[in-house]
Symmetry: C2
Subunit: 140 residues, 2 copies
Amino acid sequence: MKNDSTLKEAGLKVTHPRIKILELLQSHPESHLSAEEIHNKLVKKEETIGLATIYRVLTQLEIAGLIQKNHFDDTQSTYEITKQHHDHLICTNCGKIVEFVNDDLEKLQEKISQNYQFKLNTHVMTLFGICNNGDCHKKK
Amino acid sequence: MKNDSTLKEAGLKVTHPRIKILELLQSHPESHLSAEEIHNKLVKKEETIGLATIYRVLTQLEIAGLIQKNHFDDTQSTYEITKQHHDHLICTNCGKIVEFVNDDLEKLQEKISQNYQFKLNTHVMTLFGICNNGDCHKKK
DNA sequence: TTCCTTGCAAACGTTTTGCATCGGT
DNA sequence: ACCGATGCAAAACGTTTGCAAGGAA
């Protein structure tokens, strides 16, 4: 229900695919899903929905600021529901993704941008390493 | 000549395409070239070289640590000769890319990784903003 | 009724691969 | 001579687009 007005405010009609995609991403706030994963999940529990629609809706939701697009690797883009600004730590072994916020980092970025006379707009900061979870080596 | 031993040390035969690609990237240390751009530049001044070979060689050179692969956007990957570690500032208006090094940033990344018990391996840090070059708005 | 939205299939741009040939070592 | 490296063409992959049909306002 709440998403209805959210979509309307973004100038988008309230349609079945849009509601479903928004709800899916909202129900997986910590996940970073690709368009294909979203498609698979929706097809698995709903009626037909085209992959092209997924892409079109994701693009619109991103422009509206409701979701965020990431491209951690050069193969697929992933999407997550918009939350507080954060960056990512990725385990190159098990694929685990941890979101973090660090104020010092934000300040430092602003400072670096000023050094080079850039007006900072956004940034991407992704740390790649090995997590030491007990179950790290079991995954994937 | 120097590249000959560099390639051999990487376990790669010294072939014409590999030498040419390495030399091209070395002669443009500040550029971030796509596979297609590399192909165009080589075809323009040399004999035939296949685009597939470009990709194969770039992959090998990257594995050998001789070049670095970037994916600033989700369309094309770009390559640059390996230099001192650095990050990037990108002007979203004119496309200008500035490389920078910041020790505080490196230390902070290490600290953040430790906070989350990650053994940091590499990172990607890209700042997007608007440069205030006098000629910024003229480009592109 | 209007015109935005959708599904499907075809097109697209980048990257990868199969295969026969070529060329370092 | 061996086996890795290459060129070409075809395939693969994620993503976008054209178009006719469908649906929210």
